[in-house]
């Protein structure tokens, strides 16, 4: 029945093995299970399907209806070079386990070390862990990390941080009885209100957290000033960044950040309805920070014969050794997505990444320019946008998006649908544009938006 997957399920082999064990049937293998809880027949989950049936089943449930995606909200439609898919499909990478046996797993170890190294360069940091689950849980871990490092319990975050990440942070901090305070935002510019932020900072603050770009797609131009404000009271300065943006602006390490987090899915992995993702977690080479890192770390070392090799390091921070004293419970995280990111960065290199970031920057500026000129729409914030753009409309977004979808275009993410508190009474939809979009496609989007009358 399942001998094609489990060869010993074929009757003669099964018989041989049971005979060897002196057993009559498979049921005897469960003779230690109390009668009253042993199932007599399997749970009913439906019949066995063959390959063709499963392929046609999936085909009937999933079909691609969209040609162009301009939706924002923290995950956007990037191009994935074929080499990334090809290399990540090697079974040695995707079927293996966490590299507990380094001699047998040099490939995964070196690939993860290179992820750490490339990401460190890109962000201007020194130490990057070998992955967390996603950007949201990276913020949750950042909160707990900052409390461990500073022994303080007040967390200050910008109010323009992505609301899903705020919720994850609250969930992660719930058991530790921390105080989370939101710094106000300049409603004209769309950036953090520095004076408002400064008023919240005292010497009980563990970390100050801002995002580049923030939920509305806007760069915190005064990130460096915010870092200095945090440091003036001994708080950790934490920056959440789109790693692609780091190819074109001064990297967070250069801005003075102690900890940098972000989403690595942008670097060569598909959206897949929101996951799997890649949580980036990077610090300066400061043992006060490094000893408190959550998750795996790969280090370069040597073999007994003096050859260069790699293995996991500082494992005494981790759950399998430290148990309840561990810095985090994380074990399986997101290695393969980190390896994809390493392949992606290696392939694009300095030129490819810079051009990519430039194209996204220009496309965003162009989209903004075009939308600001059509009747019925307004750009609610005047700050600099990267990749994502908040747009206000005088007509309901549902009508606009319906018109777009009938043309095969996925429009803006209607913020009030899930996060009414983030709409600020401005009827905002979040758009995104990436390297995938050509000028005429952006033009088509804007023209179709203009078609809908108020």
């Amino acid at each position: 029945m399942i001998a094609h997957l489990s060869p010993n399920s074929s009757d003669p082999i099964k018989r041989t093995m049971l005979d060897f064990l002196g057993m009559k049937s498979l049921e005897e293998l469960y003779s230690d299970v109390p009668e009253e809880i042993l199932l007599k027949s399997p749970p009913e989950i439906g019949k066995r399907n063959d390959h063709i049936e499963i392929e046609s089943l999936i085909e009937s449930k999933l079909s691609k209806k969209v040609k162009l995606i301009f939706t924002g909200g923290g995950m956007v439609d990037h191009y994935i070079p074929p080499l990334v898919d090809e290399l990540a499909s090697r079974q040695e990478f995707y079927t293996s386990y966490t590299p507990y046996q380094p001699e047998f797993s040099q490939g995964v170890l070196q690939a993860l070390f290179e992820y750490q190294s490339l990401m460190a360069e890109l962000l201007g940091m020194d130490v990057v862990n070998a992955s967390l689950y996603d950007f949201g849980s990276a913020l949750g871990e950042a909160g707990r990390f900052s409390i461990r490092v500073t022994k303080r319990k007040k967390i200050v975050i910008a109010s323009n941080v992505h609301p899903e990440r705020k919720l994850v942070l609250r969930t992660y901090l719930d058991p530790v009885d921390a105080e989370i305070v939101e710094a106000p935002m300049d409603d004209v510019r769309g950036t953090v209100d520095l004076e408002g932020l400064e008023n919240l900072i005292d010497d009980s603050v563990a970390m100050v957290y801002i995002e580049l770009p923030n939920f509305y797609g806007i760069l915190e131009e005064r990130a460096e000033d915010i870092v200095n404000i945090a440091h003036s009271k001994g708080a950790l300065a934490v920056i959440g960044i789109d790693p692609i943006l780091a190819a074109i602006i001064r990297p967070p390490g250069d801005l003075g950040a102690d900890l940098v987090i972000g989403e690595g899915q942008h670097l060569g992995s598909p959206m897949s309805f929101g996951g799997p993702s890649l949580g980036i977690f990077a610090v300066r080479m400061d043992m006060r920070l490094v000893r408190q890192l959550p998750g795996r770390l790969i280090g370069m070392t040597k073999s007994v014969d003096g050859q260069r090799g790699y293995c996991m390091v500082l494992q005494t921070r981790e759950q399998h050794i430290r148990k309840e004293e561990a810095t985090s419970n994380i074990t399986t995280s997101s290695s393969l997505i980190a390896i994809r990111a390493a392949i992606y960065i290696a392939l694009l290199g300095p030129n490819g990444l810079r051009k990519l970031a430039e194209k996204i920057l220009y496309n965003t500026a162009y989209l903004k320019e075009r939308i600001s000129k059509i009747k019925g729409f307004k750009i609610p914030f005047s700050g600099i946008n990267f990749k994502e753009l908040a747009v206000s409309s005088s007509v309901p977004w549902e009508r606009i998006n319906r018109n777009l979808l009938s043309n095969g275009i996925l429009g803006g993410f209607i913020v009030s649908r899930l996060f009414p508190e983030m709409d600020r009474g401005k009827n905002i939809a979040l758009f995104s544009t990436t390297e995938k979009h050509r000028k005429e496609e952006i033009d088509m989007l804007v023209d179709l938006m203009g078609e809908v009358e108020g």
Partner: protein, 512 residues
């Protein structure tokens, strides 16, 4: 059969060079660049970003596509996977991933599905995820599921938070979580992360939970117990119903760590054991691959009285359709963005469709059959199984090499490295910690009888060698990409990135 792993060398001291050594200062593949028309309309970059914020230097290596392709192929060839051969890593369930499930997850409509797509586009996918939840419910008996946790440990965190919130809603002060000493390390860490004080209980002489120790540890502060069954010795906790009743009678909850579910899937339902909340490892039991350490997925199931506490959103059925609902006022919140590792979860759906009802049960039984077959063969050859000899083991079992170590000096670590030279992935070492010099062996249902015999044969051979030429075993591996790695040097040097390595002038150190 003999084995030799690829070993790409540059000079005498370096395997495959680093990307930073292969690459040049400039270069790389330009996959897209700004369109001239837009640039001429908007002007230079400094017209968009203030000059002082623009990055001046990006010190990444520049490589051509063929160089990148060869580099990562070399790395892949220096790594062992499940498709390379037997991978008997206890408690990790390294089963074969059918390629059909990989293809399903690679469907373009899924890859390109934006998480904030309108409902009319997500309905088909949500129906798949809903059906997966239903199948998991049937298998476990737990009626309500969330698919949000990104891995087993995150599932544990969610489960512990659910218990914590329920207790606080009841106005009770229960802040202790009982965990058997043999539990997976993540259990202790997850309970602590969720704010519980951990109370450890030792195992009985039979390797199961010591009922007297359990009774003594239960108090009005007890929030619950975190338990895995079969336990990490591969023994079924046959007093599980009694354990659950004890915890329940005292107002606590039973958390089940699903890492070992592969042994009993289709044979015992968690609900019948008295479990209130459980996580399932999609990447262990349900064939999604492990990815070199993720991404996995950790679905969490709960009983009726805990359903209001699941993370948001949940998938609901609505007029025959499916949608995401955030209407869960008592929810613990969210542990990651969006809805979970959907690209992993869909593999479990396809896998269960491939197995069907009978297949689920058969699959677990073959995993258990393989483990018992190997255990008996090893016992017959003089390997010591310290716990549970008088009953069938489940999907895994633990052997102790303490006697071999005492008589030859060969440790479980050395023994494992010698297995590598046979082209076999070693078992989990030194866990559970209650067994000296142990190996935890989980063959899974994927290996043929010939592979089982080959692995056992290799173990017998290495054992004989340990007595005849112990230094040979202690110097293994010789046939992997690299010889024994110096882990303590790694922890002293702390070369955590290429940048740090270069700064610390590591080269001289290495050449010395």
């Amino acid at each position: 059969m003999s084995f030799s792993q690829a070993r790409w060398m540059r000079g005498n001291n370096v395997l495959e060079p680093s990307l930073f050594e292969i690459g040049r200062a400039e270069g790389g593949t330009v996959i897209a660049e700004p369109e001239e028309e837009i640039v001429s309309l908007l002007g230079g970059i400094e017209r968009i970003i203030p000059e002082d914020l623009i990055r001046k230097e990006l010190k990444l290596p520049g490589l051509s596509e063929p160089e990148v392709a060869r580099h990562f192929n070399h790395l892949a060839q220096m790594n062992y996977g499940v498709d390379s051969g037997p991978y008997w890593l206890g408690s990790c369930t390294m089963k074969y991933t059918p390629k059909l499930v990989m293809r399903v997850a690679d469907h373009p409509a899924l890859r390109d599905m934006h998480p904030y797509s309108p409902e009319e586009l997500t309905e088909g996918l949500l129906s798949i995820l809903y059906e997966l939840q239903e199948m998991l419910s049937k298998i476990t008996g737990l009626p309500h599921y969330t698919l949000q946790p990104a891995a087993g440990a995150q599932g544990e965190f969610v489960g512990a938070l659910i218990i914590r919130k329920k207790i606080s809603d009841l106005g009770e002060r229960r802040d202790e979580m009982i965990i058997p000493e043999t539990a997976h390390g993540s259990n202790f860490a997850s309970a602590a992360m969720a704010g519980f004080r951990v109370v450890r209980i030792p195992p009985s002489e039979e390797g199961t939970i010591d009922m007297n120790a359990l009774k003594a540890s239960i108090s009005e502060r007890t929030a619950g117990i975190m338990i895995t069954n079969p336990n990490t010795l591969g023994i079924f906790e046959d007093r599980i119903v009694e354990i659950s009743e004890l915890i329940h009678a005292n107002g606590g909850y039973v958390y089940y760590d699903g890492a070992n579910l592969n042994a009993i899937m289709g044979w015992v339902r968690l609900s019948d054991m008295g479990v209130d909340v459980a996580h399932l490892n999609i990447h262990k039991t349900f064939s999604a691959p492990h990815g070199g350490g993720g991404p996995g997925a950790g679905a969490v199931g709960v009983v009726d009285q805990l359903k209001d506490y699941l993370p948001v959103p949940i998938i609901v059925r609505d007029n025959g359709g499916y949608k995401l609902s955030y209407d869960l006022p008592k929810s613990i919140g969210k542990v990651r963005m969006f809805y979970g590792n959907v690209g992993v979860l869909i593999k479990a759906w396809a896998y269960l469709k491939m197995l069907g009802s009978e297949g689920v049960r058969e699959s677990a039984a073959i995993a258990v059959l393989n483990a018992n077959y190997v255990r008996k063969k090893l016992m017959d050859s003089g390997f010591e199984v310290p716990y549970g000899r008088d009953r069938p083991c489940k999907h895994e079992f633990v052997i102790s090499l303490a006697k071999i170590k005492k008589e030859t000096g060969v440790r479980a670590l050395d023994f494992s490295k010698a297995l590598i030279d046979e082209g076999l992935h070693p078992p989990t070492m030194y866990f559970p910690q209650i067994v000296q010099e142990c190996l935890m062996i989980e063959p899974t249902e994927s290996d043929s009888i010939e592979e089982l015999d080959r692995y056992v044969g290799a173990m017998i051979k290495i054992k004989e060698r340990a007595y005849e030429r112990p230094e040979e075993v202690m110097n293994a591996p010789k046939r992997a990409a690299i010889t024994r790695i110096d882990e303590s040097f790694a922890n002293k040097a702390l070369w955590l990135s290429w940048k740090i390595y270069e700064k610390s002038k590591g080269q001289e150190e290495l050449d010395r």
